[in-house]
Symmetry: C2
Subunit: 410 residues, 2 copies
């Protein structure tokens, strides 16, 4: 698959995706736009049902897109823990009935995988307008990562032996500091940055700026990770986007999906080298190739900072800097708001919260708002190209993982 | 979307699918073939893990297709109750790593929905060769429908009040007999037929022929449904197909997917008229339109006979006969092996068993084997076109449902 970016009339960016068909045919496919984007506040929503959350996101995304319910031809529902035919149940009272509905799961990459599948159908011309939503209500499971792993027979055994998500990431952090000759302060800087961003996002769960000292002195979770370096997991929320092949006119700029890539593999950050985010690196290469975008041209990134160490590893996997220079990139301020390529302007998983199925979609909501100058209080100037990345699985007991990278542009 | 069937050189059926793109463009898409098909025996496999089951199905399907592991570009995994990133976990020891992996759930229609999504990507030219597998291990949940509903918060309340799947189908059966002036004997005939078919299928869970009297006198489950009119639900199994856009040469005839349709809606067999299988009727119309196949030209059908009443309702929804004439179709023998359009030659869910995620894929395995003269002991003569149908959801507490119809041809 290859593509090219063209400057159209009036300097407007035009994007044509060419698919090199498997039998040598070249198919010019439809462009896919994000016409509308919405999310609920992420937080503890004990008084709300999963229906309430999904409905708020979907109906607001439709309103944002100026798309009527009867124009929706398919729905993609992303969720991890909600159970059977959840999408159908959640849209029950929305007055949208009839269209094909696909329930998609890829752990924390569920939302992005749902967008990816929707893109395929839209590019093919199977549908003109679809809705993708992600939702999760983790507070019902008690919050924390142990209840999550306990809910899954594959990870239960590992959890009972102490191999929870924080401990797995902590080992990566320890190795990183050792290999790079860094101290825990570097990891803490990620939390300071993203929590400063989150403080400007009214939809984030945790909206307090913190100092390096506060991060380092917060309760130890798994050395070298302290509490403020872990994303809040007792969180509920939903996010939705309306995807269409009709050029939307509702907002200042039409947001294209320039690339949509999902890959799987053996243990993202695996046993051979726990600092090698191989799947994400491979997925990113695919996305850059699809879009024709150079990593240097990316203006903002929303990435999977479930724990501070993850952000540092993904800087390099996403080619935001050279291998080995992730720490320097962070220290330079390039990835903070006001820097060359702000990373997680929304606050990221660390401050915004991480309701699994919703996360991948919410990352795109943030990028859409940034590209359309709708990110009040944290707006990045003149952003034209944004990238989202999230991963799923790859934890103890689930040693295969998925990664997803999308590139959006105006 | 429209298509046409053409007689090619040597009378070989050729199929071209034209997609009328949303902006008026016409896209000629790739043909999709089922190059290989395999399934495990359905039954109580307490000594086997879910990995064992999935591995047997996938590796045998690849062998059947003559496709190497390194040719697989994506994997679609269908499952209902296995939990997070199950597909990735199950392929772990198969030596297939790297490709995109999509975990798809649509209750009992999960397997068919996974095939549907795979078809979209293949038609688009995104992949050339993919594997779709479905797997479920219901014996681990204790079997029966109450444990299944108890495992799902949405249906748990209803189950505790007695609204389990058998009681919901029983109400449909009672209404059908009342409306049509029939007796319980008609329902029992479905079980006699499909269990006779299953007796000829070495992979079916229940392989005993039964008489009308035995069906009617078996333990009452929910009037008018007796035990032998309900599919066995304490069952484990897996099924897999290899889909490709390269014309396969491995077998006597190349099986095309002529149509792939998934639709959702409000309560298949719902409250307004519990005998109206609206979603399936709509999905079938779409599939006939896509394929250009006339319902009269269908030579065999694998349909969702979870309970005997379901088969009678789907005869009409699938246009195998006129509305109101389903009973007559059954009594005429047309839907038995040797009849005009054998329905559930595999034994159906009633005899073969119903491991949810595997069912939709297993239906296609049967049709492939029939179309390629590989259904020893239950072979339908000269079958050219087969149809599979399954539904998901639509039970108490999950009143939105999915339906899927595929049409395969040689």
């Amino acid at each position: 698959m290859a593509s090219r970016l063209q400057q159209g009339r009036g300097g407007r960016l035009q994007h044509r995706l060419f698919l090199h068909g498997c039998q040598g045919r070249k198919i010019v496919t439809s462009q896919v736009y994000i016409a509308g984007a919405a999310m609920t506040p992420f937080g503890r929503h004990n008084a709300l049902s999963m229906q309430d959350l999904a409905q708020a996101a979907v109906l607001n995304a439709l309103k944002d897109a100026g798309v009527r319910k009867d124009e929706v031809q398919a729905i993609y529902a992303a969720n991890v823990y909600g159970g059977m035919v959840l999408g159908q149940v959640l849209i029950r009272d929305m007055g949208i009935t009839g269209p094909a509905l696909y329930n998609v799961e890829n752990a924390c990459a569920s939302g992005a995988t749902a967008v990816h599948l929707a893109c395929q159908a839209l590019r093919l011309g199977l549908y003109e307008t679809v809705v993708v939503f992600g939702v999760e209500q983790l507070t019902q499971l008690g919050g924390g990562t142990i209840p999550l792993q306990r809910n899954d027979y594959k990870t239960e055994l590992y959890a009972s032996h102490g191999m929870t998500l924080p401990t797995v990431y902590a080992m990566r952090g320890t190795r990183y500091l050792h290999e790079r000759g860094e101290t825990a302060e570097l990891l803490a800087r990620v939390a300071v940055k993203n929590r400063a961003h989150g403080a400007r996002n009214p939809l984030a769960q945790q909206r307090s700026e913190v100092t390096l000292e506060e991060v380092l002195n917060s309760r130890p979770v798994a050395e070298p990770l302290t509490l403020l370096q872990c994303c809040p997991s007792a969180v509920d929320g939903a996010a939705a986007v309306v995807l269409t092949t009709r050029r939307p006119t509702q907002h200042s700029a039409a947001v294209h999906i320039l690339a949509s890539a999902v890959q799987s593999g053996y243990q993202e950050l695996g046993c051979d080298d726990i600092l090698d985010a191989e799947i994400t690196a491979r997925t990113a290469r695919l996305a850059y190739e699809q879009s024709g975008v150079d990593p240097k041209d990316v203006n903002l990134v929303e990435l999977h900072d479930a724990f501070t160490i993850a952000e540092l590893l993904y800087y390099e996997a996403l080619q935001l800097t050279k291998s080995g220079e992730g720490g320097e990139l962070l220290r330079s301020g390039a990835t903070a708001l006001g820097g060359r390529v702000p990373v997680n302007p929304s606050g990221g998983l660390l401050a915004k919260g991480h309701p699994l199925g919703a996360t991948g979609v919410a990352q795109m909501v943030e990028v859409v708002w940034q590209l359309q100058n709708r990110a009040d209080g944290r707006q990045i100037e003149n952003a034209k190209i944004g990238l989202t990345q999230c991963t799923g699985g790859g934890i103890a007991g689930v040693d295969h993982a998925a990664s997803s990278v999308h590139i959006l542009g105006v």
